[in-house]
Amino acid sequence: MTEYPSRRDPKKVITAAAVVVVIIIAAAAAIMFNPFQQRTLTVYTYGSFMDWGDNNDTDFFGPFEEKYGVDVVIDRRADDANTLVAILEAESANPIADVVIGIDNILILEEAAKSVLAPYTPINLSLIDDSIVSALDPEHYVVPFDFGLVTIIYSMADMNTTTHPELANLTFADLARPAMARALVTEDPYLSSPGLAFLLTEIAVHEKLLGTDWTDWWSDVKNDIDIQPGWSEAWARWYTDPTKHMMVSYGTDPAYSAYYTQTEPDVGTAPIYYNGEHYAWMQVEGMGLVKNGPNPELAKLFIEYCLSPAVQMYVALNQWMFPANMNVELDSAFDYALKPDEVILLNELLNQTEIAENLASWKSEWNDIIRG
């Protein structure tokens, strides 16, 4: 008799399945909405924030948590800072974040960015060089966390100043030659901050130094240059594709290489050259108070803390940018980095008012040239 198959009651099966699902969801809900959590301070930042090194969030913010009896949640909420602003805007009716880190000196020019922030001038701002503070935001909606130089880097395995002497004093004219343009990877200025910095570099050099129309260079290279949507994609291309030797990246890349390979760096920097000087665009990443955030007083204390050496000492090796607080000592690997005092900052040539006025039209002109 037992060899005959039997049937189960569908009602029982459905009920059992439903009960299991409800239990799983209830358990998950119980775990995730822990009522015994202590006070939290929420920080929104972009995906790669302080995630490049061997230290972790506890190293950076543990002392602050202990001192104020608060749980600091570093929420790498979005891939890029523009999305961060869009999220803050969407949540503006009922903000979750207290602090946002990652809005740079171009993004802050957007009305949308200012609309989600409350200006605040921390006491510790005295520790930061004035030029950096004002390069970011004179109104202090955001204050500097770190900064870096955007420049062209090249792979020393493929080229060097002997095989390509022009690398020592690289000009846009050099880059316009097809052989060079074909070896260059950059990022989309709409979607990537180094990509946008490179566009502004190109505009500043042509409009302010050479006095020529900036659009010509892009027309020359548009069939050869490789434009990737973001820094990660660009790096993947530069690394994987044997025909790509140069990319738009950060001046600290040789330091990173030297630190992790424990040898001489295998990448070099080639800042743009004009008339006896090298030039680079400085990106300053800022942090600010979220407007109507849940814990404004704690948030202010947190920004003060971030400007202090307790956090700033970790910036170099975990963020691979220069700490805003210049009193912090840098690892010796940073000797290989392109340093601010080696170049003239293009930010000084192209001021923020001019960028704010023209950014939208520059980007759309760029798009017309590339896809036209």
């Binding site: 008799m1 060899e3 005959y4 198959p5 039997s6 049937r7």
Partner: protein
């Protein structure tokens, strides 16, 4: 088991076709065959009885109780279709037990019932096979067992055997009839095959163009078709149409196709009539003979033990069936000259004309 009455049952479809009104009674325990050519509405009628098609008009009662608002699953029916429609994902056992299991039969009762039925149908050895591992004839037996498992009050069979080869068909016809009689289940049997209908049923209802043309026992339909359609479809009969030229007592003389036929029956002189003669009543002869009709032999078809002979009579064909081997041999040698046919006046049926 149940007495089923269809009265004025009709259904119109969106494309303009319509079926009915159909008036039909299935007596308790009888097997009634629904016979008709394709498109005559047999399957629609069966599906109305089953409840899968809702009629627009008319009533349907089971033992006097209106059943139209009862969903198919509560009508107490068992169905077997031409496509068999065994559940492909179940074993033979599961197929047969399905109706019992969904109705909450106990496991023991279910197994006993399935075993008993499979013994009855000779498929006990197939119970653990997958449905794709059994032959067509076996599949029909399984389908029948499945339909019978729940002891339905009404069994609906829609061309259950038409996809099988003729020999198997005959065996199964016989079995279905035997089991039906044994169980006494009222049965509606849809078929387009006259021989199948006649072989299996208590009564036959002939369906023409959506309405019942004639209902009766097979012999009655065969011997006394009421109209041309039934005569043609049931008897495979020879139809003659003509004018009554002389009416005497109980017999009339009909002028048809340039010949005079003597036929039993009454009709007014001068009226148009149609009559049929069954093939086996057509007698063929050879040689000169007055008062006999000279025709040509078109073909001679052996039917096993007998022959079907098709004659050309004017512009129409006349079929005869004979067991006379000598006649057949002579016809073959004769090269079809001097052939004639005749029939007894009493073997002809006068038909209703429309």
């Amino acid at each position: 088991m149940v007495r089923v009455v269809l009265s004025g049952l009709a259904r119109e479809f969106a494309d303009g076709t319509h079926i009915g009104p159909i008036d039909l009674t299935l007596e308790d325990g009888e097997l009634l065959a629904l016979l008709g050519p394709s498109g005559s509405g047999k399957t629609t009628t069966l599906r109305m009885v089953a409840g899968f098609i809702t009629p627009n008009h008319g009533t349907l009662t089971f033992d006097g109780a209106n059943i139209l608002d009862v969903p198919p699953r509560d009508r107490g029916i068992g169905m077997v279709l031409q496509s068999v429609a065994l559940f492909p994902h179940m074993s033979v056992y599961q197929n047969i037990a399905f109706g019992l299991e969904v109705s909450g039969w106990s496991r023991e009762k279910t197994i006993n019932r399935v075993e008993a039925l499979s013994d009855l149908l000779g498929i006990r050895n197939l119970l653990f096979r997958r449905t794709r591992e059994i032959s067509g004839g076996e599949a029909q037996r399984v389908a029948l067992a499945r339909a019978l498992a729940k002891e339905p009050q009404l069994l609906l069979l829609d061309e259950p055997l038409s996809s099988l080869d003729p020999q198997l068909r005959e065996t199964l016809q016989f079995e279905i009839r035997k089991i039906q009689k044994e169980l006494g289940v009222t049965t509606l049997y849809v078929t387009h095959s006259q021989s199948e209908a006649f072989a299996i049923s208590d009564r036959v209802a002939v369906l023409d163009n959506g309405v019942v043309s004639q209902v009766g026992a097979p012999e009655e339909l065969y011997n006394r078709p009421k109209n041309e359609f039934v005569a043609r479809f049931v008897g495979g009969g020879n139809i003659f149409a003509g004018e009554v030229v002389k009416s005497t007592e109980g017999e009339i003389l009909i002028h048809a196709n340039g010949w005079r036929f003597q036929v039993s029956g009454t009709s007014q002189s001068g009226s148009d009539v149609v009559f049929s003669v069954k093939p086996e009543d057509i007698r063929i002869g050879l040689g000169e003979r007055p008062n006999a009709l000279a025709v040509e032999v078109v073909s001679i078809i052996p039917l096993g033990g007998m022959h079907k002979i098709i004659l050309q009579f004017g512009d129409r064909k006349v079929t005869s069936i004979t067991q006379d081997e000598d006649l057949v041999r002579m016809l073959k040698e004769n090269e079809s000259s001097g052939v004639w046919f005749t029939f007894e006046p009493s073997s002809a049926s006068l038909l209703k004309t429309d």
